[in-house]
């Protein structure tokens, strides 16, 4: 007999795991497929102090418990795979992975989360770990006394610049706008630090070097002038984007690249639901992702009941 799941959940962050817990506890045959690390962005959080009912913990521990809960209720989790194809249009949905496996389900919950935005410029990938970094806390000490460029203008970029100033000799913040999105408090701290310099209205165009980063090309967006800056490292903090690769023509998506859902987490496609950071919403917290996942799983359960799929 063909193996058809009641629900396949794409993504194993807080939204996906919560959906997995609720769906499998409701005795739905549940499979979670995850492209990267189980836990999504939250495992990178060093301290979570505002998750109700849980005293201060970290993202890794919280996710490990969620994962165990889901598995204990019978949820199957397959991680670190690559989704090659998604068919949501037929009554039985299909997910194909790069290993050639095809998983079928009556319903789908899209909980693909968000991912850090990359620069996508020449040299970025080549010099990753050899000057290009996405974590000042991790790699800051390798740049002691050196000159670095920080890209971005939000809270992370400014906060991390101040943190990097403990190590680096000189920091140049390159930001595409003429003002920062970061809270004024952080901006003031950065402006007061003599090691931190600013290049506004500017974007990086190329990273080059030999065994490590030596030079960046920066474009001034107000006059399109291209200049070069000698540097030992580049720290990139330019926000997050919803993970909707492969979903663009399958479900309704807004101009920001977020999946549109109703209050039951239902998309415009029958039997397809979405939850967490990939959906259009204002607040992105672990708690809101957990709530989204819960609602999506309960909606799936209700849908399957109404379709007479289950008794």
């Amino acid at each position: 007999m063909e193996d058809i799941y009641d629900v396949i959940i794409l993504g194993a962050g807080p939204a996906g795991l919560s959906a997995g817990i609720y769906a499998s506890r409701a005795k739905l045959k549940t499979l979670i497929l995850n492209e990267g690390t189980i836990g999504g962005q939250v495992i990178l959080t060093h301290e979570i102090a505002n998750y109700p009912g849980v005293e201060t913990t970290n993202g890794f521990q919280l996710i490990n418990i969620m994962k165990k809960q889901a598995k204990d209720f019978g949820c199957i989790i397959k991680a670190n795979l690559t989704v090659k194809g998604i068919n949501l249009s037929s009554k039985i949905k299909e997910i194909e992975t790069d290993s050639g496996d095809i998983y079928k389900a009556k319903t789908i919950i899209l909980a693909t989360g968000g991912k850090p935005r990359y620069l996508n410029i020449p040299g970025e990938d080549e010099f990753k770990g050899r000057g290009v970094s996405y974590c000042a806390t991790c790699d800051g000490e390798f740049f002691t006394g050196k000159e670095v460029v920080v890209v971005g203008g939000g809270n992370s970029a400014i906060e991390e610049s101040v943190s990097l100033a403990k190590y680096a000799g000189k920091i140049t913040i390159v930001h595409q706008f003429d003002h920062f999105q970061a809270l004024p408090y952080y901006v003031e701290m950065a402006k007061k630090n003599p090691k931190i310099h600013f290049r506004m209205n500017s974007e990086l165009r190329e990273i080059s070097g030999e065994s490590s980063v030596k030079l960046v090309k920066i474009e001034n967006l107000s006059n399109n002038h291209l200049s070069e800056l000698n540097t030992d490292g580049i720290f990139v903090f330019i926000g997050y984007v919803a993970n909707i690769e492969g979903l663009k023509n399958l479900v309704e998506i807004n101009s920001k690249g977020e999946i549109i859902v109703d209050h039951n987490m239902k998309t415009n496609v029958e039997g397809v639901y979405a939850a967490g950071d990939c959906i259009a919403k204002r607040y992105r917290q672990v708690t809101t992702a957990v709530a989204d996942g819960t609602i999506a799983a309960l909606s799936v359960s209700d849908y399957l009941m109404n379709q007479n799929y289950i008794n």
Partner: protein, 116 residues
């Protein structure tokens, strides 16, 4: 202190012993940080498949982590984690910063052979 599902290398002596007693070894030396956790997770996933390889992690901030940090193969590395691949006690590959499942699998296949 690393909180992972991997076995930990906790001292230089243990590191030496592991290298002496095992043919194929992967050690990820890092912290509980955003670039390191995905690598630990990939290793955890691969442990069951690559039974001919021993997987370990090591705390980058432990005093004995010099056995990896000061290895010539890590010269010029500027991003955590430092990941080492050893065959018969010798370093055959070293990588810096985050690596995904495909990158790690590819190195394991190339250096130690595909799983049966």
């Amino acid at each position: 202190m690393l909180i992972t599902n991997l076995n930990h290398v906790e001292s230089a002596d243990q590191h030496k012993k592991i290298l002496e007693e095992n043919e194929n070894i992967m050690i990820c030396c890092g912290r509980m940080g955003p670039m390191c956790l995905p690598v630990y997770d990939v290793m955890d996933e691969l442990q069951d498949t690559y039974k001919h390889v021993k997987f370990f992690d090591m705390d980058f901030d432990s005093a004995d982590a010099h056995v990896i940090k000061s290895a010539p193969e890590c010269s010029g590395f500027m991003g955590l984690p430092f990941t080492m691949y050893y065959k018969n006690g010798k370093v055959v590959k070293a990588t810096t910063s985050i690596q995904n499942m495909q990158q790690v699998s590819s190195i394991l296949d190339e250096q130690f052979g595909k799983p049966e």
